[in-house]
């Protein structure tokens, strides 16, 4: 038994529409595993990656999650990107009692015993970003543009509530949704220009996803919307997305993340160098979800060490409270609600496709599974520590509901 | 496109699914008590200004065998297209018996009302076997539900067999129709027409590609059919026409040029000029 390698499942799309984002994450985990093995493995055992390709097809995610857990009997899975893929595998992880580390910023409203949320929840990204817009840039009007799916919808719902709570009038908020891969932004950009041309300082809050971003920014540039007129702050645009865009005209537009490749810490430089070596490409970029995997992987390693086993229950138990350094000079701690602490930063786009940090929170913010700004969930909390052991506990009614496949 | 057009489109009579319509069209119920079975009056068809039929008027009596001749492009096939509902004329009247206005009926209804046609260019179902082609043509209910439940009784089988013998394709009964030679397809078309057992048979160039002897057989067949059925034959082979014709109509440029007995028509100098040649 002892010689058997520890198996780590990697469940990221390598083909289909999501491959563009997820392939780098698969490689990140592979790199981390390689490094760990070079440093003597874990518990004296080798770590072995098990890679599958769910091909951006949601039911296939569930199928392959099942395959990883039931057939390959992996000890932990790093994977999924979109919320729907996470939702699709969630019941499988709960049923078969596996561990999933999810690396992407998401809409919150979830906490599962079997999932560890390494990306930002809205309070770790969206809220601080609009705070920045309001406080530092004196923005009064907000155009919330997003791709039509749950993450932007939820985020915008939270933001709308939050903005109105902060005295922004309803007509000063514009909300617009576009389909996945939307490529013709002419009218929308023109509308936003109009919306922003009324005198008050206006900003775009973008939850536009993946492929739609290139034509969006290209159109912004062509219609002459510069960051000094109407700045964009995006939640899904990182270094990797910028790699496909000519960033010269976009300088000054912003993104809110918990990590930027430009972070000047030694950990980060080492990480980047390792990544460049791994990819054999000195122009390869790193991004926030990659950092999330870095953190998640190290947390899992630490938890396994503490537990002395890869046994799921033991790791679940041991990992809460584990603290590891992040890449931006601070520390990430696994909270009882299975979210982690993260610093929030605003970066402005530079001509070389990097971000320069213009603002950052004092220290780390803990991720909130259930948003305080939504009436339905403001009473709900999550804690996977005894005695609560519940992902959605209503403090008003004292009831714990949902997501109870495990037992 | 105005908004009104949609509902109007839906209400169109000529395309509506007529689940609800009474079905007066079963063969044999055509009212022919008062004279001709097929009336064409003043029928005009034009394509982009070209008049393929020009005020054509024609009557076919019950049980008649009528030959129609005329130069290429005179409008003979177009006339059949009008009768079978494939083409809607620009003006004119077309009636089957006293009651059925062909111009208001769908192609399928016209067929079910008892008009059968053999096409000039043989068109059969290439992927079906010869017997299946005949079975498809066989008279009987045409609705989805009835064909779904229908079974082939001995009588029908006998009928198929006899037609198969009649058209000389016994040995080819199991081959796929697409594999037949041109002449064999011609025969199959005739066979399908026989299976349909219509009241009016429109036969476009039945003997093209047949040997002289086959031609005689076809002539006999058509003559046998006449009497109980009304038969309209279009043909360019004068020997054949002469052998079967009682009344001959000559079409030219979309209207009737001459009509009468074979001899009279043959002697008509206009017919000689445009059609027969010296």
């Amino acid at each position: 038994q002892e010689e058997d390698p520890i198996k780590v499942g990697i469940l990221h799309s390598l083909s289909g529409t999501m491959a563009i984002s997820e392939t780098a994450l698969k490689e990140t985990v592979e790199m981390l595993i390689e490094q760990q093995n070079e440093n003597g493995g874990l518990l004296g055992r080798e770590i072995e990656p098990v890679v599958v390709d769910p091909a951006s097809d949601w039911p296939r995610f569930a199928e392959q999650a099942r395959q990883l857990l039931a057939d390959d009997e992996v000890d932990v899975v790093f994977g999924t990107w979109t919320s729907v893929s996470r939702k699709s595998v969630l019941p499988v992880f709960e049923e078969l009692n596996g561990l999933l580390f999810y690396p992407v910023q998401y809409e919150g409203e979830e906490s599962s015993e079997n999932v560890f949320y390494l990306g930002a929840s809205p309070n770790q990204q969206a809220i601080p970003a609009v705070d920045y817009l309001m406080d530092e840039l004196d923005v009064e009007r907000f155009a919330l543009l997003g791709t039509d799916y749950v993450y932007p919808r939820t985020t915008n719902k939270i933001l709308e509530q939050y903005l109105m709570d902060n005295g922004v009038a309803e007509e000063d908020i514009m909300i617009n949704y576009t389909p996945f891969g939307h490529s013709d932004w002419q009218s929308i950009v023109s509308d936003v220009r109009d919306f922003g041309g009324q005198g008050e300082k206006t900003a775009i809050v973008s939850t536009i996803n993946g492929d739609a971003n290139v034509p969006f920014y290209t159109e912004l540039a062509n219609q002459g919307v510069s960051a000094s007129d109407i700045p964009v702050v995006a939640f899904s645009v990182g270094e990797q997305e910028l790699a496909g865009i000519d960033t010269e005209p976009l300088v000054g537009h912003m993104s809110a993340w918990n990590y930027f490749m430009s972070a000047p810490t030694t950990e980060n430089v080492e990480f980047i160098q390792a990544w460049h070596e791994f990819k054999d490409d000195t122009s390869a970029v790193t991004n926030d979800p990659m950092e999330a995997h870095y953190i998640g992987f190290n947390m899992w390693v630490e938890a396994v060490r503490r537990a002395g086993t890869t046994d799921v229950e033991a790791v679940q138990d041991a990992i809460i409270g584990v603290t590891v350094p992040n890449l931006t000079g601070g520390y990430a701690t696994m909270m009882p609600n299975h979210h982690i602490t993260k610093p929030v930063m605003i970066g402005e786009i530079q001509p070389d496709g990097q971000f320069s940090v213009v603002w950052e929170t004092n220290g780390e913010v803990a991720g909130d599974a259930w948003s305080d700004y939504l009436p339905e969930s403001s009473d709900i909390i999550a804690s996977w520590r005894a005695p609560l052991l519940c992902g959605n506990y209503n403090v008003e009614t004292g009831v714990c509901s949902g997501q109870d496949y495990g037992d | 496109m105005s908004l009104l057009d949609r509902p109007r489109e839906v209400m169109r009579r000529d395309r509506v699914f007529d689940f609800m319509m009474p079905d007066p069209l079963e063969a044999g119920r055509v009212d022919t008590r008062h004279g001709p079975i097929l009336y064409l009056e003043d029928v005009t068809v034009s394509f982009d200004g070209f008049r393929a039929l020009d005020a054509l008027t024609l009557y076919i009596d019950v049980g008649e065998l009528r030959c129609i001749i005329g130069p290429n492009g005179a409008g003979k096939s177009t006339m059949m297209d009008v009768i079978t509902g494939r083409i809607r004329p620009d003006q004119g009247q077309a009636w089957l018996g006293q009651r059925l206005d062909l111009l208001r009926m769908q192609e399928t209804d016209i067929s079910r009302a008892g008009i059968g046609r053999k096409f000039q260019k043989p068109t059969v179902f290439p992927e079906h076997r010869v017997v299946e082609n005949l079975e498809l043509a066989m008279a009987g209910p045409r609705g989805v539900w009835s064909t779904l439940r229908q079974h082939l009784d001995g009588e029908s089988r006998d009928r198929i067999d006899s037609v198969l013998t009649e058209i000389g394709l016994q040995s080819a009964g199991h081959s796929r129709a697409g594999q037949l030679s041109h002449g064999q397809k011609q025969w199959l078309e005739i066979g399908m027409l026989l299976m349909q057992n219509p009241q009016v048979l429109l036969v476009d160039e039945p003997v093209a590609g047949m040997t002289h002897q086959e031609m005689d057989r076809t002539g006999e067949l058509l003559q046998r059919l006449a009497g109980r059925h009304s038969v309209v034959v279009v043909e360019h082979d004068m020997d054949f026409v002469r052998s079967i014709a009682r009344t001959v109509t000559v079409l030219h440029q979309g209207s009737v040029l001459a009509e009468g007995s074979m001899d009279a028509v043959q002697a008509d100098p206009r017919v000689v000029e445009v059609y027969l040649g010296e």
Binding site: - | F47, F50, G70, P71, N72, G73, A74, K76, S77, T78, Q120, K121, G168, A172, Q179, L180, S181, H182, G183, Q184, W187, D204, E205, A208, G209, M210, T211, H212, Q213, E214, R217, H236, D237, M238, D239, Y275, L276, G277
Partner: protein
């Protein structure tokens, strides 16, 4: 001009032509005869290259052609009027003619075609598929003539054509034989036309060539044996 020796041909598994032999002398008109389904069309298609020959030789103008593709045979001087017309239905009449014409590198339409079939000129802008059956047949013949072939293959060319033009076609075939040294290979069921037009005959029966000779040698016994049912 054209000689076919020991030609065999199959449709899938079924053996359609059995060792067919056929000689078509130059500058004459040879008529291939036989009942329905004996394989006449199959022979012509094989000569044209539209069907592969399983075995046997086809020699045209002294050269073996059985392995050449159809288009080379067409450009090499074989014109084909198929059974069933095979017009390009969506091309205009003029375009139908021009397609053939371009493959001999010309743009004009030979006067002969319009002389013979004036209707093709009158209706040059109409779509080929809209023509009446007989008009299409005329177009098919006209199209083959556009190739200015040395060997013209006609598969029941008079089908559906009005009597006076049929007669004219017969005359033209003879004229072409004579004046332009064109060789003609004809399939025809109508005995009178065949007798009038052709000067040689070859009879097929169930895929085999069974008789041949000069047209005036075609006696009633042969007709009785092979051409009636």
């Amino acid at each position: 001009m054209l000689s076919i020796r020991k030609l065999n041909q199959y449709y899938g598994e079924s053996h359609t032509l059995w060792d067919v032999d056929c000689e078509v002398p130059a500058q004459g008109c040879t008529c291939l005869m036989g009942r329905n389904g004996v394989g006449k069309t199959t022979v012509l298609k094989t000569v044209m290259g539209l069907l592969p020959a399983a075995s046997g030789e086809i020699e045209f103008d002294g050269r073996r052609i059985e392995s050449r593709p159809a288009e080379q045979r067409a450009r090499g001087g074989i014109g084909y009027v198929p059974q069933g017309r095979e017009i390009f239905p969506l091309l205009s009449v003029e375009e139908n003619l021009r397609v053939a014409r371009t493959s001999v590198g010309r743009r004009d339409i030979p006067t002969l075609v319009h002389e013979l079939f004036p209707v093709l000129h009158d209706m040059r802008h109409r779509r080929g598929g809209d023509l009446s059956g007989g008009q299409q047949q005329q177009l098919a013949i006209g199209r083959a003539l556009c190739l200015e072939p040395r060997l013209l293959i006609l598969d029941e060319p008079t089908e559906g054509i009005q009597p006076n033009i049929v007669r004219e076609i017969g005359d033209v075939i003879q004229r072409l034989n004579r004046d332009q040294a064109m060789t003609v290979l004809l399939v025809e069921q109508k005995l009178p036309f065949a007798r009038r037009t052709a000067d040689h005959f070859v009879i097929l029966d169930r895929g085999r060539s069974v008789a041949d000779g000069r047209m005036d040698e075609l006696g009633d016994d042969l007709v009785q044996r092979y051409l009636t049912v």
